[in-house]
Amino acid sequence: MNEMTTIAVPTTLKDWESDQEVRWCPGCGDYAILKAVQRTLPELGADPAKTVFVSGIGCSSRFPYYIESYGFHTIHGRAPAFATGIKLANPELDVWIVTGDGDGLSIGGNHTMHLLRRNLNCQVLLFNNEIYGLTKGQYSPTSRVGTQSPTTPLGSVDRPASPAAFALGAGGRFIARGFDVSKNLPEVLKAAHAHKGAAFVEIFQNCIVYNKDVFEEFAAPKGAEDRQLWLKQGEPMLFGNAKTGDTKGIALDVEKLTLKVVDVVDGDWQAAGVIVHDVTNRSIAHMLVEMPFGPFPMALGVLYDDPRPTYDEAVLGQDAVARSGKSTDLAKLLAKGQTWTVNESDQGPLSNV
């Protein structure tokens, strides 16, 4: 969101906690995301009365019940549709969509795509745990090949979707990544909120019961600096341990037109050709969302941020133009077109076309 009038009475984290008992499994990554959101909202100056959390179905979609704002827990995959109606009905509302990899990319992939291409002014938080949690552990559209689950006892064979790549491909103008327990998550959320238009945030979330620790390879605190690339606008794409002198960077392999990891010697990243992150560079964004973890670190933070006019502004602006100076007299509307009058006396037509 953006342009929100700061409320007279500032809020605290407590003000955003609803009186509902949180029903996620103990140790679920959702708890950390909930706290991060509740911690961020006061810093945004958000007004609970003007904030609406909209969700679909799944573990993540219980989220609205726990936030002390307006909340609408809708049906599976369709939260973007409801959010569109809410925002077009009242553009002053600050709309957050909370979804998951199954909700937002499987049953609701169509709506996610259209929300992003239309650029509805809202935040989309997609909790990606690479599994169906609420239905007890079936593999999801983001599960890695070979994931064993109740429906894939021999391992899944279909290739997973990449949420960030999907969102960018759908025409999203803001793409960011974070993970549940990351201390940087509030900053990512703030950036998403500051973006005017559909802001898509993929949040890796640990499903402790059905897909435990699948993100540990990059999310574990130990060695995180080697496996996480936190992108910052205007700064070189560096990762690794500066203290040990083992600094690396992301550079462009000009011949192959791909990204490559380069060693940075004595802090001279320019010499190593490390790219300076420009959040408005769509080509680099395409490379970052496709950058495979393993050979590369996990790209996190704001990968892409280049606003365009929003759908709600366009629709309501067009409505305003269409309405200006027009009569709203219903009687006149009903009598429009080619009419004729029947008189009591002659019972014949008197054309007044």
Partner: protein, 649 residues
């Protein structure tokens, strides 16, 4: 016009009180346009009328084929007209395929006007004629007036230098000109209309006007051996006032706008293109100044989802579709029931199942409307009986939705959506407003908020996001009867299920008692109908009563919940028949609700009932009246508005 009327005299058949004309041609021949303009001319002549556009699902079917035939039938007269007419008196056939698919419907002795210019070997082959029917005597039971309309049109537009193809496209105006002459109509309104239509292409306006005039002059001057003569149909007696023509789709759009105004709300309409419902969206996009916001969604589900979202945010959410699309919306309808938000869902029914008959009419979504959801999910259903009635029904749907905080289904059908009829323009001030109120303060004891507290109608408060101090969460999970918080407990589900049912059942208290459209409030036989079969039922009952038969017509607008007195009323008749364009859905509802012995009269040919079909069914209950052999079930009358598909096995 389909109004509930007193019983007038039955028409005398040898006096031209009413005439049925069918224009049939290739889908590229402009038959719908010709029919539409002829309709307007009938309106201006003061006739009452009803129309039936019958066109293929294909946009541009291959030229000259049987399945590419597009037809438009109009019944106009000096008496009350409530159907598009059983059988045409005049058939205008622009090519062999149009003749073949339509001629069997024509009354014996009826007039065929055929364009011989199109009766080429190639077109005859496409229509599967071995020899031209014009020459082989197979049309002997009708009068045939065959001449080269194509050539006459080409001749008339010669001065304008059009290409062959463009010149031939003026054929429909030539034909319309001839029809205007036949029925003693003014040409000026059509000429004005053509000038306006082709304001940017004056040469086309001139050419079309020339064709129109030439067709008219042909009637005036040609020696046609007495086959063609002027017929003058007197204006129909009608209630004084301002009239316009209206189709059901326009009427629904206007009714929704009026309903939103009466509720004091702006409207949000979410739709996805589908035949025959799209025209409602087409109408509403042009009414933005009335507080209408429209959204063409990515699919049917998003369309209803956005509409519910808008209702949640304080607008009147509306969505519309046809059967297959309604099926997709079903889960979201359940959410609207659960979250108790107002919503109007318009279903322009078409033939099913699945894709079925996209451009044909049926009443087979009644079960879907009343019962078609998971769970105990009651939704009130209002059914329109004609284009003009759709206006009032749309307002009624808005009233129920906002006053009872519930989704409401408004049923129309392909016939109502496309058909045109004269409409006595109502005064909006004559409708009682039903302004909504939004909750602005906490409504529970000790300053608590109870989003699921209920008023005396059983409705919960409408709380707009953005209202300070009233933050709360709603959703599709079962909830606590007061707070609306998640509550799966047995007591909560029982209480809430009961409350949702009681609320919708209670709507019966706010609707008018069931009346009898024609006839007595008890007696030997009641013909009970709903939806667009109103016209043929009403006329059939009227004709039967004129013969002294004790039969009454009951038309039910509120098909769910049913009017409180309907059961008692039905029990006052010895027999009940329920004509429906389905396999007997409303019959089953009546049997279930009232344990009455309602008998079905079914037709699923994609075509409206013929008056004669219902008359025949009525006759079976009375000795000495001509009966139909089949008993309850009336087979589709092949001669009555035959479907194009049936000619293409």
């Amino acid at each position: 016009m389909a109004s509930l009327v007193a019983e007038p005299e039955v028409s005398v058949s040898n006096h031209p009180e009413a005439v049925v004309v069918r224009f049939a041609g290739d889908s590229g021949d402009g038959m719908q346009l010709t029919g539409g303009q002829f309709t307007l001319s009938s309106a201006l002549a003061g006739n009452d009328f009803a129309t039936f556009p019958d066109f293929p699902a294909e946009i541009r079917a291959p030229q000259g084929t049987l399945f590419g035939v597009s037809a438009f039938q109009i019944n106009f007269g000096s008496t009350d007209i409530e159907t598009a007419g059983d059988a045409p008196d005049v058939l205008v056939a622009m090519n062999p395929a149009a003749l073949k698919t339509n001629v069997d419907a024509l009354k014996p002795g009826g007039l065929i006007i055929a364009d011989t210019g199109e009766f080429t070997k190639r077109n005859l082959d496409k229509a599967k004629y071995d020899v031209s029917p014009i020459d082989d005597g197979s049309l002997a039971k009708w009068q045939v007036l065959a001449f080269d309309i194509s050539a006459l049109t080409m001749e008339s537009v010669k001065p304008y230098g059009l290409g062959n193809k463009e010149a031939l496209r003026c054929k429909n105006m030539w034909t319309l000109g001839l029809a205007l002459w036949m029925f003693d109509r003014e040409r000026e309104p059509l000429i004005d209309w053509l000038k306006a239509k082709f304001v940017k292409l004056p040469v086309l306006a001139d050419a079309n006007i020339a064709a129109l005039n030439a067709g008219h002059a042909y009637g005036e001057t040609a020696e046609l051996g007495g086959q063609l003569h002027k017929v003058h149909v007197d204006p129909a007696a009608a209630k004084a006032g301002l009239y316009r023509t209206i189709t059901g789709a326009e009427s629904v759009a206007l009714g929704l706008v009026a309903g939103a105004q009466l509720a004091g709300l702006e409207m949000f309409f979410g739709g996805y293109p589908i035949t025959p419902a799209s025209s409602i969206l087409h109408s509403l996009v042009r009414l933005k100044e009335f507080g209408v916001t429209t959204f063409q969604a990515e699919d049917e589900i998003a369309a209803i989802g956005a509409a519910i979202g808008a209702s949640y945010a304080g607008k009147l959410g509306v969505t519309s579709s046809s059967g297959p699309g309604i099926a997709l919306k079903t889960e979201a309808m359940g959410l609207a029931v659960m979250t108790e938000l107002p919503l109007v869902i318009v279903n322009s029914q078409r033939g099913g199942p699945s894709t079925g008959l996209p451009t044909k009419t049926e009443q087979s979504d009644l079960y879907q409307a009343i019962y078609g959801r998971n769970g105990d999910t009651p939704i009130p259903v209002v059914a329109a009986c004609s284009p003009s009635d759709a206006f009032d029904c749309a307002i009624e749907a808005c009233r129920i939705a906002t006053q009872y905080m519930t989704p409401v289904i408004l049923l129309t059908d392909g016939y109502i959506a496309n058909a045109a009829e004269p409409w006595l323009v109502p005064d909006p001030a004559s409708y009682a407003p039903f302004p909504v109120t939004f909750l602005t303060e906490r409504n529970g004891p000790d300053g608590t908020l109870l989003p699921y507290a209920r008023d005396d109608k059983g409705a919960r408060p409408w709380i707009k996001p953005g209202t300070p101090g009233l933050t709360h969460r709603i959703g599709g999970i079962e909830k606590n009867p007061g707070t609306g918080n998640l509550d799966y407990s047995p007591g909560a589900h029982q209480t809430m299920t009961d409350a949702r049912k009681a609320k919708v059942d209670g709507i019966a208290n706010s609707i008018p008692a069931q009346t009898v459209a024609l006839g007595e409030t008890s007696g030997k036989l009641a013909v009970v109908g709903w939806g667009s079969s109103f016209g043929p039922i009403h006329q059939a009952v009227r004709r039967a009563r004129a013969k002294g038969i004790d039969v009454s017509h009951i038309h039910v607008r509120h098909v769910w919940p049913l009017p409180a007195n309907l059961g008692d009323l039905l029990r006052g008749y010895e027999h009940i028949i329920v004509p429906e364009m389905n396999t007997g859905q409303f019959k089953t509802v009546l049997r279930d609700q009232f344990l009455v012995d309602a008998k079905p009269l079914n037709k699923t040919s994609g075509q409206p009932f013929a008056i004669a079909e219902i008359e025949a069914a009525i006759a079976t209950y009375f000795d000495g009246a001509p009966s139909n052999a089949g008993g309850g079930e009336v087979p589709p009358n092949a001669a009555q508005l035959p479907s194009i598909e049936s000619a293409n096995p």
